[in-house]
Every structure is written in C-alpha cells, then in structure tokens.
Assembly symmetry: C2
Homo-oligomer: 187 residues x 2
C-alpha cells in the first residue's frame, strides 16, 4: 500500500469514525486509527493535519459540489429548488451508501462542544458559498441570503431524519420531504 492509494483517505475515515464511536474521540490516538486502516501514522499525516480533520474532510468537496451544481444546474421553479437540487446531487455523490459512517461521525461531533462549534462554522461557510453562487446566477442579495439559509434548514432536517435508526429512505427523498415541510411551515 503506497502513500498514493486513492482510497486511503476513505479507509482512514471509516477506521477513525469506528474508533471514535467505540472508545471516544479523546481516547483514540492517530496510531490506532492508522493501525486499524492498515497504515502507518505517517500515512495518516499524508491525508490529515490532525485528529479532528478526519471528521471535517468532506466539507470542502461537499461545498464544491453544491456550488458547482448551483452554477451549472438547470433553471427550476425557484432559486430554492435549484439549490436543493444541487444538494441532492452532492449528497448522492458523497454520502449515499455511507450512512453508517455518517451516523458514527454525528454521534462523535455532538458529544464535543468544540467539534460542534467547528461544524457550525463549516455550515455558515457553506451557507455563504451558496449565497455567492446564487448571486453569480443573478439572484438579488436578500433572496440569495434567505434561499441559502432556507436550503441549510432543509439539509439539516434531512440529515436529522437520515440519522433515525428506523429510516429507510434515501437522502434524495428525505431532502424533497424536508423542502415540502419547510414550505408548509413558512407558508
């Protein structure tokens, strides 16, 4: 296994989320994560700068995918429909079929105030990026800001539903349902 293994990051993530969930974030060492994934700690540091980063590494490709989807996506009934469509595609690309890992990650983040704070910062950055992408498409400032915020609510609600043990629907359907629920709430 060389340091260029393209699946290395994913294997390290899966191992990290398992260990964090089993024995706690604080008690897990980088050596243990690397070992469970079949790597040396050096390989870990080729992918992530520290122990926290493995939890947030999808934030950048996710944001990029959402922004690309908004800028290049089809014209739909409203900017909010366009953003939710872009989120659905990004989720399909990055999260669908990885529910177990996502749930483990959620449990770990929710238990640490400083990880929750970092998560809030990432969500705020995503909301800002969505609003900028909409501005590029010609949406006015206020509509762009409110649409980005509303899309963020839809996304949070869908991920919350996805985390329910009894939930069997895919993220795409959960996002559509959350959008319907927001529309009925705000009406």
């Amino acid at each position: 296994m060389t340091r260029w293994d393209p699946n290395g990051a994913t294997r390290l993530q899966v191992a990290a989320f398992e260990l964090f969930d089993e024995q706690g974030f604080d008690k897990t060492t980088i050596a243990e994560i690397a070992d469970r994934a079949g790597f040396t700690p050096r390989t870990y540091f080729n992918h992530f700068v520290d122990k926290r980063e493995v939890l947030f590494t999808l934030a950048v490709p996710y944001q990029e995918a959402v922004v690309k989807g908004i800028i290049e996506g089809p014209n739909l009934a409203s900017p909010l429909d366009e953003v939710v469509h872009a989120i659905q595609q990004a989720c399909e690309e990055l999260f669908e079929g990885r529910r177990e890992a996502a749930l483990r990650r959620r449990r770990v983040v929710d238990q640490h105030a400083e990880l929750v704070e970092r998560e809030l910062s990432k969500m705020a950055a995503l909301t800002t990026a969505i609003a900028s992408a909409l501005r590029e498409r010609g949406t006015d400032r206020e509509t762009a800001q409110l649409t980005a915020g509303a899309a963020n609510l839809v996304q949070q609600e869908a991920f919350l539903a996805w985390a329910e043990p009894s939930e069997t629907r895919q993220l795409r359907a959960l996002l559509s349902d959350a959008l319907k629920a927001l529309r009925s709430t705000v009406r």
Copy 2:
C-alpha cells in the same frame, strides 16, 4: 457609584463597544473600558468575567425574552408568526434605540473569527431554545425545528438591514419585512 449601580453594565458596554470600534478589540484593555465608563477595573469584573463577555451579555436576557414571548404570547396564524411576534417584542425591549451600540458591536465581532464562532454558538443555542418553547406549546418536533430555523433567518436578515447606514425603519418593521421576504423566497 457603588457596585450595585443597575446601569453600570450598560455604561460599561457602551464604553467597551466604542473603544473596540475606535482602536480594535485586541488593543483595548479592561482598565481603559472601566476608565471611560467612570469605574475601576474591579467594577468591570463585578459585571463580566473577561473582555469578550461584554459583547455577549445580552444573549441571555434576549433568549429569555423570546422564549417567554413564545410561551405566553397570543395564538396567531402560525407558529412562525408567533415566534416572530415574540422576537419583535424582545427586540423592542432590548435593542430599539440602541442601534449605534449594536452596529459598533457587529463591526467588532465580524472582524474576529473566534468572536464570530461564539456568535454562531449563541444563535444555535437560541434556535434550540425557540424549538423547545414551541414544543411546550404543543408543536410537533419537525415543525418546531423548521420554525425556529426560519425565525433565525428572519432575525438575521432584519439585523443585517438594520445595520445599513441609510436604514431608518425600526426593528419591528424590518422583522415583518424579512418575514414577508422569506415567505416569498420559500413559496
């Protein structure tokens, strides 16, 4: 001036926001803040634990006022109308007529990543508190969560408009307008 002066906290706040805005948050000392307000540093520490706290001291009474307004407020057309009504009352109580201080505070917070993070945490806490208050009124979990998130968007948008130098309307009107804008965006 004794340590029990009920206006002490407000005078210290006004002095702190002025100094932070004039010479920067990092360069301002607690001794300078106390001096400008006509107090000793000891009086400052009777009100606030550190230099940051003076910026966030209204978060608790504001959250309490909003929650009280939701629980004791009138039945309106929807939970979102009820929450925005409670926010309007809390804003009138705590912020109306204090626009200059609020704008100074905003400029300081926006320039420091760690203050922005703390602000995001306070907003997340407020959203959670609003959702809990709605649950107490009998609103289902999903509607309570989405309503609280939507109310937070309305509030952010209204405060953003309030910060425009040319803006002359009161917060109450800006909140009503932001609610209308959200409705038209989400429709």
